[in-house]
């Protein structure tokens, strides 16, 4: 039976189709988020189903997660991204004991026990400094595409020091650095280090290893290294790191269909 997971995030919508019998991903896709969150989600789901020769009637269950999850009326259940990330990572990176997820508007750190169950978590609070939003602000200010930031950071020789913990104030610092002639590559690397430092501070001490890095920001070249440096620990980027939330939602939809209580390891 095919199940779907929809992750209606703040920056993008991700959908994963999951074969609950074969325990494998059937298809996945992502689009940018917009005002019409539900319509966008439905359109993405339908196009994904169509690409597999399926219709909505073929779906056994749908679980929505992410910031906009309550808006997805096609979902049979909503589950927070904390639980869904844990399930998605468990599938893609078994044995993980900590997850660092940096998305468009928020970041979170999850501690996972030996059974793969979330023990505790922290999320950023009303501040975008440790999130992808910081990179968006930077890209706009530098006049480059978001996906070009990683390559730019790779050319940095001396990352700039960004002292502000607030995106709004940091933008002022970026303007100052540009005015002082600092190379854009060094500013990007400095911002990456700033995001990583912020997230590491939120994670606190003694983050259990292995640590898996997820979320859209994990796809930005240079962030993995910046995070590892800030945490003082090696970090592995999950395969398709932006999809782990949607994958977890799809897996939980499958378990729901099979009548399994959610966390049984």
């Amino acid at each position: 039976m095919i199940c779907a997971g929809i992750d209606a995030g703040s920056r993008s919508i991700k959908v994963v189709l999951w074969d609950a019998d074969r325990l494998s991903i059937v298809a996945s896709a992502a689009v940018d988020q917009g005002v019409e969150q539900e319509a966008l989600s439905l359109r993405l789901l339908q196009s994904l189903l169509q690409s597999q020769g399926l219709t909505q009637a073929d779906l056994g269950a749908v679980v929505a997660t992410g910031y906009g999850r309550k808006l997805i009326s096609v979902a049979d259940a909503t589950i927070t991204e904390i639980s869904c990330q844990a399930w998605g990572v468990r599938q893609r990176a078994p044995g993980t004991r900590s997850i660092v997820d940096i998305g468009g508007q928020d970041s979170k750190v999850l501690r996972i026990n030996g059974d793969g169950v979330v023990e505790d978590f922290v999320m950023n609070d009303r501040c975008a400094a440790g999130s992808g939003r910081f990179l968006e602000v930077l890209a706009t200010r530098l006049g480059v595409r978001l996906d070009a930031l990683g390559d730019l950071a790779g050319r940095s020789r001396l990352p700039a020091l960004i002292s502000s913990m607030c995106v709004v104030f940091a933008e002022t610092e970026i303007i100052g650095l540009l005015a002082a002639g600092t190379a854009p590559a060094d500013i990007v690397a400095g911002v990456q280090a700033s995001i990583a430092t912020r997230v590491a501070a939120m994670a606190g001490r003694h983050l259990p290893r292995p640590i898996t890095f997820t979320g859209g920001v994990a796809m930005v070249p240079g962030m993995e290294g910046a995070l590892a440096a800030a945490l003082g620990n090696p970090v592995s980027v999950a395969p398709d790191p932006q999809l782990t939330g949607a994958l977890g939602a799809a897996i939980l939809a499958g378990r729901r269909l099979q009548g399994l209580r959610t966390p049984a390891p």
Binding site: T80, I82, D115, V117, F121, M123, D125, R126, A264
Partner: protein, 467 residues
């Protein structure tokens, strides 16, 4: 009376009130439909809350929301008003031992911006006086005193200073700068006694050097004198001891209520009403005798529901220990929507919940009480008390609700969280709750739901491991 308790909207309360009246509901003089607080009092937030449907809860809300009228009536009847700031429970005990004083808690104005959904503009008035949003929302008190549209301005303000909240000290100093005399008294930072140093065990279990207790006692003696001078009346030790016994009746009743609610298999009273009820211990809502009656009615309702096996939430609701009061009352509803229930609290004044020792000279007892304030000691001490109480109540998670701008919250939350995780290994969630959270409801809901999911999954994991 319906047997199944529910949390209902204000709209549903309109009909419920009519039903109760038709059924012969007897109300105190301040009773009446809750709707009037919105229509006449401007307490718009009530229309966005879900409220317990019992007559006891109706009485609680009416009691809370008529405090300004009660104060005005007291003044008209010739009684003198004292605004007791920051002591969170100690000075009112002295004031209510004198026959013609009515003490109240101006700091309580911090909920006005929430209740009136900002239409009061108290925070903007505080901004204009230089107390901006880098301070705790208790700055609304300053606006309320300046615009005189809320509580009557008391003839005497008292305020503790020293190891107390920096924000409140700054706000009270600004108040004094505006010409409102403040009687200041000092409370030192409670430190752990040195080895061999004479020490005293305080209510709640903390220890303090005997010299610090003596210092606080002498400060409280000054407050006592100020109250006597203001009242024009001598306060004997005997009358003060009687006052302590009356305060303890309130604390005892609240203690029984908390025990009943926190230990019941199904939650018999909502977190929101329990938050309001706990506040009565520190200020009596300007009527000590009536506050006891209000609490007794709640206690009876909770006991009735427990005995009948009734509750508001299912028995699987996640048991949460809640740290710090919320600036937006709606967040207490949100916890229950997310599948949690409150089982244990530290709303910054747990010293006001402990019985005041009755076997000591009264000033010694009050000094020990004041020094037991969780905010005047180390956050580690506070965290240890939280751990002990949370375990006692069987809580499965801890929520630390930060108050934006509150200087103590910025540091305390992290310390409490770390101690709880280390000592007890339960999930800890930190939230920041401003006076109006409407725009933040999705993110707050996500965090609370994630906490509930984490505990629920942990329970299932343990069960499967046992299998």
């Amino acid at each position: 009376m319906t047997d199944s308790p529910r949390q209902i909207t204000l709209h549903e309360w309109d009909r419920r009130y009519d039903e109760l009246r038709a059924g012969g509901l007897c109300e105190p003089a301040y009773g009446g439909p809750l709707r009037r607080h919105v229509d006449q009092g401007g307490d718009l937030r009530l229309a966005h809350l879900r409220l317990d449907d019992s007559p006891a809860a109706l009485r609680l809300w009416n009691f809370l929301l008529t405090e300004d009228e009660r104060l005005a009536q007291a003044r008209a009847a010739g009684q003198r008003l004292v605004g007791t700031m920051k002591d969170l429970g100690t000075v009112p005990v002295m004031a209510y031992s004198l026959s013609n004083l009515v003490a109240f808690y101006p700091d309580g104005a911090w909920w006005i911006p929430c209740l009136m959904q900002g239409s009061d503009r108290l925070l903007q008035q505080a901004d204009a006086l230089g107390i901006d949003d880098s301070f705790c929302p208790v700055r609304a008190m300053l606006g309320a005193i300046v615009d005189k549209a809320h509580f009557p301005i008391p003839g005497l303000f008292t305020c503790s200073v020293g190891a107390t909240c920096d924000d409140l000290s700054a706000i009270a100093q600004r108040l004094e700068g505006l010409g409102h005399g403040v009687f200041w008294w000092e409370i030192p930072h409670r430190r752990r006694p040195e080895p061999g140093e004479p020490s005293v065990v305080l209510p709640g279990g903390f220890a303090a050097p005997a010299a610090q207790v003596a210092m606080v006692k002498s400060e409280l003696q000054r407050v006592r004198q100020a109250l006597e001078d203001y009242a024009g009346e001598h306060l004997s030790d005997e009358r003060l001891s009687q006052g302590i016994r009356r305060a303890n009746q309130v604390r005892d009743c609240l203690g029984r209520l908390r025990r009943t609610v926190f230990t019941a298999p199904r939650c018999p009273l909502p977190a929101l009403e329990m938050l309001i009820a706990e506040m009565l211990a520190i200020h009596f809502c300007s009527d000590q005798r009536e506050s006891l009656a209000v609490l007794e009615a709640l206690e009876a309702e909770a006991a009735r529901r427990v005995q009948a096996g009734l509750g508001l939430l299912d028995g699987e609701a996640v048991r949460v220990f809640w740290v710090n009061p919320v600036a937006d009352l709606r967040v207490m509803n949100l916890l229950e929507d997310a599948g949690g229930r409150v089982c244990g609290t530290d709303y910054l004044f747990c010293h006001a919940l402990d019985p005041i020792p009755e076997d000591l000279p009264p000033m010694e007892a009050l000094a020990r009480m004041a020094l037991a304030d969780p905010m005047v000691g180390s956050p580690v001490d506070r965290a240890e008390r939280i751990c002990a109480e949370a375990q006692q109540w069987g809580a499965e998670a801890v929520v630390i609700s930060r108050i934006p701008g509150a200087s103590h919250c910025a540091l305390e939350g992290a310390v409490i969280g770390e101690v709880v995780r280390r000592r007890w290994n339960v999930p800890v969630l930190e939230l920041e709750v401003p006076p109006i959270t409407d725009a933040m409801q999705p993110t707050l809901r996500t965090r609370l739901e994630a906490l509930v999911e984490t505990v629920t999954q942990g329970r299932t994991s343990i069960r499967s491991r046992r299998r």
